[in-house]
Subunit: 283 residues, 2 copies
């Protein structure tokens, strides 16, 4: 892997920032707030920020970059797809529980649901995240989709994944803003009590975590190399040529280092064409 | 241009959504709020959302995709750099005035400054935006930076630009959340009065505008082609080889359509290397 040291430093930074964010959300809930419960009280609401930070931000972020960990390149592509889908499924379940906690708390306290921009954007992100998981499973994990469909949908899958991730972080920042304005009364948010500064720092860490993940996920030279991805999940009826297309799709940026050799001008142009369709360079 | 119709449809959608967002922010300020003034009253604060939506979101978004408009490809690269930098400068000035309006309003009303996560992230985004503009000017517009430095910094410039843009939209959504919670008292935000629904829709439109701009800016096959970009701004001391590197940097995805022909394996590898450094495929 090119720039292996830099990748490791960024990965360590992302893990550290993400892990500290999870810790801070626990401290917020248990030290500054009412802890956890499931009885319609504020303790039930507190599952909401805790599970959003842990699942919808941290685990989703790890799921995004899991293909790029160089020590997984000896594992089969199919296994990595299961890990990618599995982590995203865990994140989705935690996000759904987080949403249910907020709804149940609102209902128990006679607070209206779905009036705020935070709720509109958060729920929209969760719906698109679920659709992304469903279509990703149907198209890229199940072996039925033809190669041209995978090639067509991959840039959309990558773009959707990264923008949903960014939107989730934006929704989390709006949620923090709401919660601090609601909860901090005496002293108010505007007088910057320790909890306000503490949770603002949590918000900044979520932004930094997002920036680190998006950088790692969008560097073409850190993509999983070609040779490992050709052996699995050949679509039903897939030809050798089709498999090559899929390989090009997932790993063209490593073409010059892999065993693949593009010997003809036509093949080079096809390679560039798939590059251009965003296979190499979606963020 | 490949997919010219689709590009035009997306551009028209982005312009429409962006333009409607600007209109909605005017309606918000003049119909639902106190209009505009510069006397420390709420009318002074209202410059803040108006100028952020108009300048920091809409004009910045246009500045991001200005290189991709196919009818500008006959213009010199230098002219397009001036337009890109000029639009970003206008956006920065409007964002600074927007920030000053918020500070002056706070000071006049004895409201503390810089306590909220919105203010932390918004000011950080503005500082990074100004640095981005300064370094972009120094490295890519002035003719002094050597080619290797441009090649090294271009992926960072593109990544920073797109993530600052996304962060500005996130900060705008947090600002909308704050403002609606502060302003809507009787009826409250939670009872969904018309203004609440109206401004929530503005927030959604800002997200849609951002998604459209980021999609257009991240499709490699919609990059400005090579042949127009080789004629200008050769760095002092730049060689023909250096110019070729810059061309590769800005337009390699169009290599198969341009007059440039990569005839040697070494040149092909260098091309891929520059691709991999993110020239082709940042975000």
């Amino acid at each position: 892997m090119e720039d292996y040291g830099r990748f490791l430093a960024l990965l360590a930074s992302a893990l550290l920032v993400g892990f500290v964010s999870v810790i801070l959300s626990f401290v917020w809930v248990f030290h500054y707030r009412e802890g956890l419960s499931w009885d319609g009280s504020a303790g039930e609401f507190n599952w909401h920020p805790l599970l959003v930070v842990t699942g919808f931000v941290f685990i989703q972020g790890i799921a995004i970059i899991v293909y790029r960990l160089p020590w997984t390149w000896k594992c089969s592509k199919l296994l990595m797809k299961f890990i990618h889908a599995g982590l995203n499924t865990i994140a989705m379940i935690l996000a759904i529980v987080a949403m249910v906690a907020a709804f149940e708390y609102h209902n128990a306290q006679n607070i209206p649901n779905m009036y705020s921009l935070h709720s509109w954007i958060g729920l929209t992100a969760l719906i698109f995240y679920s659709l992304q998981l469903f279509f990703g499973f149907a198209v890229f994990l199940l072996p039925f989709a033809p190669v041209y469909l995978r090639a067509l949908l991959m840039p959309i899958h990558v773009y959707s994944g990264l923008t949903i991730f960014a939107t989730v972080i934006a929704a989390a920042l709006m949620g923090i803003t709401e919660k601090l304005l609601f909860s901090l009364r005496d002293p108010a948010y505007s007088s910057s009590p320790p909890e306000a500064t503490f949770v603002n720092c949590l918000g900044l860490l979520l932004v930094v975590f997002g920036l680190l993940i998006l950088w790692m996920a969008s560097r073409p030279h850190w993509k999983r190399p070609l040779e490992e991805s050709t052996k699995v999940l050949r679509p039903i009826g897939g030809t050798a040529e089709g498999t090559e297309v899929e390989s090009t799709m997932t790993s063209s940026s490593n073409a010059d280092k892999s065993d693949m050799r593009i010997n003809t001008e036509a093949a080079r142009k096809q390679n560039l064409k798939f590059d251009e369709s965003g296979q190499r360079s979606t963020m």
